[in-house]
Point group: C2
Chain length 426, copies 2
């Protein structure tokens, strides 16, 4: 009677861990893309104040919320007017509405966030995957992109949307300016609409770095999505936004997304719009929290990256978000002796033997035979809000006992995977 769909693997994993007993050795949960940080008191206050918005408001969002998001983009180098903005209950439904609004097939980097292909499939779109380069994720290799688009057309498909992730989930990296330019050139030549998922924009580790968006190269064909879930650790509040291009083409897509929204979710909840108005306004306490969080994300992600590399993994050095995406291919012979031969047996081995919870690469569209997984390093900041606050304010969070202890446990687990390597280099 119903279709054979499964719950999004990241959310399923998170619920599984939440239900698991702790036993004598607690699990190390690296399998979920959530910043485990406290919610700012000022955000809580705005939510409470927003209770007064209990009637249905404009589908696209209140003028004040949309103006705040427009200001957010403008301050980040992408001049924007409120009319270009639509807010929604997370960036997920906005992305889904785009699939329902814009016909044609969908081009995705491989690997990528697990909900992109699931959404495309629900909307009846074919997914065309293009590999990412060895240096960064979220943006496909431009030459491979052109080839795959043309091959897809020859095969009778109709690629129309290209989704990019800047910074990227799952690799924790972002594409350099030249790569963004090249891929935008291909999108222009091939008449694709680009959806630039920039939900991790404010988690770039280097505070001096300004992220470069496709909206700065091909503004008339770029839709940017964002949200507060990752940067402000309020994934459970479900606040997202989309920025549409100026001009008639952009307005048409925006109007169609609003039409879809009107029949699927009506609007972002009024109290959440008040939170959006405040947080996208970038007041000093928000800017401070963004800066402190990005610093912490960088410190811990770089350390996990370093220990993966010490254990013999290939891994792109993380520069944004809070992920690493190691490849244990160099350890394949050794792992094969333990029965680990692919992404799924690797995930299971890390869980059974070490209590490490990771998201297997095949859930992200990667080859099932590859020995790759995503580890969310943002889950390591502490169990309690006190520990998390300490992590945010510490000069060197890696020296806090609750963080260094868990990093040591991860290091020992991976060293145990590759003891010979460890002896050779140690």
């Amino acid at each position: 009677m119903s279709r054979g769909r499964a719950v999004s693997p990241n959310l399923a994993l998170n619920e599984l861990v939440a239900r698991s007993g702790r036993g004598d050795r607690p699990l190390v949960h690296l399998g979920f893309g959530e910043a485990r940080l406290p919610v700012l008191a000022s955000l809580r206050a705005r939510l409470a104040a927003g209770a007064r918005h209990h009637g249905y408001g404009p589908v696209a969002g209140s003028p004040a919320a949309r103006a705040a998001v427009a200001g957010y983009f403008t301050r980040r180098g992408i001049p924007t007017t409120p009319g270009q903005i639509v807010v929604g209950p997370g960036s997920k439904p906005l992305l889904m509405a785009l699939h329902l609004a814009v016909p044609g097939d969908v081009v995705l980097p491989v690997p990528c966030w697990n909900s992109y292909p699931a959404q495309a499939d629900m909307a009846g779109r074919k997914v065309i995957g293009v590999p990412i380069p060895a240096e960064y994720g979220g943006v496909p290799d431009p030459l491979a992109l052109r080839d795959r688009i043309r091959a897809a057309r020859v095969a009778g498909h109709d690629p129309r949307i290209l989704i990019l992730t800047l910074p990227d989930n799952p690799t924790g990296t972002f594409a350099p300016r030249e790569a963004v330019r090249s891929v935008c050139g291909v999108a222009e030549d091939e008449d694709l609409l680009v959806v630039s998922d920039e939900i991790y924009r404010d988690t770039v580790h280097d505070p001096a770095h300004r992220l470069f968006s496709p909206a700065e190269v091909i503004p008339e064909r770029t839709i940017v999505t964002t949200g507060l879930s990752k940067s402000l650790a309020i994934g459970g509040w479900r606040i997202g936004a989309a920025r549409f291009p100026e001009g008639p083409r952009g307005r048409r897509v925006r109007d169609t997304v609003v039409a879809v929204a009107s029949d699927v979710w009506s609007s972002l909840a009024g109290p959440m719009q008040e939170v959006a108005e405040y947080a996208f306004g970038d007041p000093p306490e928000i800017r401070r929290r963004l800066r402190d969080s990005a610093r912490l994300h960088g410190a811990v992600a770089r350390e996990v990256h370093a220990l993966m590399v010490r254990a013999g993994a290939l891994c792109r050095p993380p520069t944004g978000a809070f992920y690493v995406y190691p490849d244990l291919e160099p350890l394949r012979p050794r792992l094969a002796r333990r029965g680990v031969t692919d992404s799924d047996t690797l995930r299971r081995h890390l869980f059974d033997r070490y209590g490490l919870v990771v998201l297997a690469g095949h859930h992200l569209g990667d080859h099932p035979e590859a020995l790759r997984f995503k580890a969310a390093t943002s889950m390591l900041y502490g169990e309690t809000e006190e520990e998390q606050e300490e992590a945010l304010s510490a000069a060197d969070p890696l020296r806090l006992p609750h963080i260094s202890g868990i990093l040591t446990r991860i290091e020992e687990s991976f060293a145990d995977l590759n003891p010979a390597h460890d002896e050779r280099t140690g």
Copy 2:
């Protein structure tokens, strides 16, 4: 580039009115299904307390929120366990997820709420409309239903879902027990899944009446949807729930809807789940508010019905929700002289000549040539929270000056539509 979709006509109308200047004669907004009542202080307090839920939680909802909704149904004569419940950001996305989860075409009563056919269309489903009887709405005529299903199959369609609305939007009525039984019999014979939209359940005007649900007749094939938007006037908070059947078939549909939810909206926002836990728990202050609201809805809807009938309209007497759905067919010759010949010219005439805002029947799937419209009587309770509170607590709300004044204006407008009739009976 994008599909030709339009914003849901009810939401579009509401935004239009909100933007309109007041002029010397304010508009009478009867075009939007919102209970214009204040939000209870206890609901505001729970929202603020719920701010602590800022992480991603279970897709289906927290155990506490689901237990509360299960209790809500159980107390209303439909025994339910928490495992049968999924909460979401309104009942709209839950209904959309059902279309994405369950294949096949969709059978709808005509007229019906405008988002049902829009959602079916977005999910690539064919809509099969079946007329309602002259006495009530929300549930099609059983004989016509059987005929249309069989004709649709002969035409190559695949009807699998039947949506019923109890009580009904737009007619403000509910189907009698025998009608529900008959239609459920057809659903059983024809192997349809029934979606019973019961979002207006707690607005039944007669406090002694217990609404009869298809879930009591064919529990194994009935999904019930509900929400807090209508009964507690918090449409802007976006809180909905769905109840799935027990047993393997119901569990399969539920699991697929949760899978869709995981990739489309993740979960209902945590603070809203805390509101759901409280409000679906039916504490005394919620029960009192539900009772007072239903009494007010009944008093005002019955009065608007009476004045429509006095003006010569055909109209089903309202028994639930806060709508009337008049048919001005008896006035057709007179209206034709003013250039009013169909649903759209009627709506425009009421707006231009009398400043009355109504939703034209063709937006609800009705024949465009019919002289029918929906009027939401819940918009008449007052402009300020003070007036609305007064309306809730008044022994006879119709005698409050701010309500009687606007009723007089509506009465005079419709009397002017049919002056001969007025003279004859007056």
